[in-house]
């Protein structure tokens, strides 16, 4: 049979698929419609010297044959057309697309073979005479043997792997059933026995299980590739100063002792000491502190912090794997190990099921051989037991539900990254939030009530800086419809504030002690010399209050763990109605608190975004990170929010419970079907026809239960 060979030949062959040679991949996060496709392709095709450009809307990527045009030119061209684009390193994704196509090909081959053999079997079942049945069996064998050899390879491979490691997994009974059914039927056909042939059963088993496997793969690969995509987008770079010249290098290439230039808005790539410049340093990612710190020459800075106002020259003390980020990475690695040991429902079912199937099969063979002394008859019964117990429905039970739920959550703005995340999410009994960047947007809002003239002045000063306070003032002015005052001689003093001159005298906006105020953290000095303290608070996410209320009403205990100062945390907890709120939590303290909760028998869900949360995200029973989170946090989390809203958190908790209930129902259905059919098989009444009907109906009912609408 040649069935396997064209399949091999057509399997994704990157060299050939690349005749148009797309050597550059751009990530286009915002495209969503036909018009976007057209305008992106137009914009790219208008760039001179560029080869073929094709948009893939499913992956939100553009594959471009660059022909030597620099990526920056393309990104500029797309920006002019109104599209955000980023360079994407496909090397970080590995061969995920390949295995999807590969599985699909196997499904196709198994489906083709199953349908043809089924046609021949119908003739046998409806009573073809001896020689015709024999001919049909031989033809079936001719189709089935190569088809199974090709299609069922994933099962054989996994079963061999498990056996050589001295374990049993679900693929062992599957492989045994497929192989026994195939070989015994083949022997029967070649020797001219007038016995039932199980070719169709072997193929149907392969086909349905492959469908389950493919669903499982699709569900996870879309999530995984999106997660890897997030990581692939952030190849951190640094500006190294060598002999007075600046060069851009990968952050991983920096050595201790190197001088690094950090511009305002940049995230520090290394731990080090400031040699030149002063700035306000945003440490929220590491500590959860919402107010920036003023730092200057000689102060220590750590990787992950963001400089807000002034440029810095930093001498590297520790780089790469040695930075303070490292201890967070260690926390994460240890916890991930633990999490990967979590056995999902399917694994637990398989652990009970696999030995049972073997024992039943072997017992029926021995019993029948002992009773009838007919080896072929005993083998027939053993095969029917193996085929019937071999659970197509069980193979579909969990992946069908998780695929449907994952897709549903994706439409609601949530990415499920981990395979067992839904099951773990269903077991949650307490929800732990981080404050800065999770419940809040990380931006500030003005809470003082300013007169229009003061706001005009403050907003005018704020134009000279990109400090969070300045942005809050600009936003407040915009909301009130106040035009910022035009000021001359506007200067930012990094670490202190902004100063300018008016006709009536100098004005200042900045730290209270620098401006001359005695109270508050930030103040404004008017032209007449009087001082006005300004109060700011963090801006809550729009739906934070509703989400927290919804989660609490659903019966979960809600806790706030923050690295920020006690009064800020207490205020936030009061606003949101959270009873337990712990301030000044270091990254280790967060992880330790969650471990302690777990040891006390709780199942905490961690929702956090910063580097200081990664340990907690990894330790918690399940974890969610918002899209604005740092890549380390997104990597550690099981689910990633794709929008700016928190509402999907409550939705995910609900959906996970429904999903887990469906999985249990499905497994119960699959078991029920076995309870009914196994005695029939043991009694020797099972025929290939019965097996075919039972297998198809149970698989279909399980799939239907998975897609059934949710209330």
């Amino acid at each position: 049979m040649t069935a396997a060979c064209p399949a091999c030949a057509a399997l994704p062959d990157p060299a050939r698929a690349a005749t148009a040679a797309p050597d550059l991949v751009l990530h286009l996060p915002d495209i969503h419609c036909a018009v976007c496709i057209a305008s992106v392709e137009d914009a790219l095709n208008a760039v001179p010297g560029l080869g073929e450009a094709r948009v893939n809307l499913t992956l939100k990527r553009a594959f471009v044959a660059s022909g030597g045009v620099s990526p920056d030119t393309l990104i500029d061209a797309l920006a002019r057309a109104g599209h955000r684009a980023q360079i994407f390193d496909p090397g970080l994704l590995g061969g995920q697309d390949r295995s999807g196509r590969d599985l699909l090909m196997r499904v196709g081959v198994a489906g083709f073979a199953m349908m043809n053999v089924m046609l021949l079997s119908v003739a046998v079942w409806s009573g073809a005479d001896h020689s015709t049945a024999l001919l049909f069996h031989l033809i079936s064998a001719l189709i089935a043997v190569p088809a199974v050899a090709y299609s069922a390879r994933p099962f054989f491979g996994s079963a061999l792997g498990a056996l050589s490691a001295g374990r049993l997994n679900m693929d062992v009974p599957i492989s045994v059933a497929i192989l026994l059914a195939l070989l015994a039927s083949l022997a029967g056909a070649l020797l001219g026995h007038d016995r039932a042939a199980w070719f169709d059963a072997a193929l149907a088993l392969t086909f349905f299980l492959l469908v389950g496997r493919y669903l499982d793969h699709m569900g996870r690969s879309s999530a995984r590739s999106a997660a890897a995509e997030l990581a692939a987008l952030e190849a951190p770079q640094a500006v190294r100063v060598v002999d007075g010249r600046e060069e851009i290098v990968r952050a991983t290439d920096i050595q201790p002792g190197d001088l690094i230039r950090v511009r305002p808005g940049d995230r520090l790539p290394v731990d080090g000491v400031i040699l030149e410049g002063e700035t306000d340093l945003d440490r929220a990612a590491l500590t959860g502190e919402s107010q920036p710190d003023a730092v200057g020459v000689g102060d220590a800075v750590a990787a992950g912090e963001v400089t807000l106002t002034g440029p810095l020259l930093v001498r590297t003390l520790r780089a790469g794997a040695d930075t303070s980020l490292r201890r967070l990475a260690d926390l994460v690695a240890a916890a991930e190990m633990q999490k990967s040991r979590y056995a999902g429902i399917a694994d637990r079912a398989a652990r009970v099921y696999a030995p049972l199937v073997h024992i039943l099969g072997a017992a029926s063979f021995i019993a029948w051989f002992y009773a009838t002394a007919d080896g072929w008859r005993a083998l027939d019964v053993a095969i029917s037991v193996l085929v019937i117990t071999c659970p197509c429905a069980l193979g579909l039970a969990v992946p069908a539900v998780s695929t449907v739920t994952t897709a549903r959550l994706f439409r609601k703005g949530m990415l499920v990254k981990s395979r067992t995340a839904l099951e773990r999410l269903a077991e949650i009994d307490m929800v732990v939030f981080d404050k800065t960047g999770t419940l809040t947007t990380g931006r500030m809002t003005l809470t003082s009530d300013l007169s229009e003239a003061d706001l005009m002045l403050a907003a005018g000063l704020a134009e000279g800086s990109s400090h969070p306070v300045s942005r809050a003032l600009a936003a407040a002015a915009m909301r009130r419809g106040v035009t910022p005052a035009k000021l001359s001689d506007l200067r930012e003093i990094p670490g202190h504030g902004v100063t300018a001159t008016t006709e009536a005298g100098p004005v200042r906006l900045g730290r209270a002690d620098w401006v001359g105020a005695t109270e508050g953290a930030t103040a404004l000095r008017r032209a007449d010399g009087s001082v006005l303290p300004l109060a700011f608070s963090e801006e809550l996410r729009a739906d934070a209050t509703d989400t927290v209320a919804a989660i609490r009403d659903a019966g979960y205990e809600v806790t706030l763990l923050s690295g920020d100062a006690p009064d800020a945390v207490a205020r936030m907890a009061r606003t949101l109605g959270i009873e337990t709120a712990l301030p000044r939590m270091s990254p280790e303290a967060k992880a330790a608190w969650l471990s302690a909760a777990k040891e006390a028998g709780r199942k905490p869900l961690m929702v956090g975004d910063g580097l200081n949360d990664t340990g907690g995200l990894a330790v918690a029973h399940a974890s969610i990170a918002p899209s604005s989170a740092l890549d380390a946090a997104r990597n550690a989390a099981d689910l990633v929010l794709l929008s700016d809203h928190l509402a999907p958190v409550a939705e995910a908790l609900r959906a996970a419970k429904v999903a887990k209930a469906r999985m249990k129902q499905n497994i119960a259905q699959a078991v029920l079907y076995n309870v009914v059919s196994v005695p029939v098989a043991l009694a020797g009444f099972a025929t290939p026809l019965l097996a075919a009907i039972a297998m198809s109906t149970s698989s279909v009912t399980v799939s239907l239960n998975a897609v059934r609408g949710q209330k």
């Binding site: 040649t2 698929a17 057209a38 809307l57 499913t58 083709f112 189709i143």
Partner: protein, 52 residues
């Protein structure tokens, strides 16, 4: 029953034809971008010929 000599090869051959078509669609990458394939017909420029 002699007719089987023709019918069986014909039936298997038709099945193989279907399989070959399926293999061809995979090799052409027709399942790589279902979302894009759903949207592209809405744009006029693809009216005369689909983009390769």
């Amino acid at each position: 029953m002699n007719v089987l000599v023709f019918l069986i090869p014909v039936s298997v051959g038709l099945g193989l034809l279907g399989l070959a078509a399926f293999v061809w669609t995979i090799a052409k990458g027709q399942y790589d971008d279902p979302e894009g394939s759903r949207q592209r017909p809405l744009d006029d420029r693809f009216d005369d010929a689909p983009k390769r």
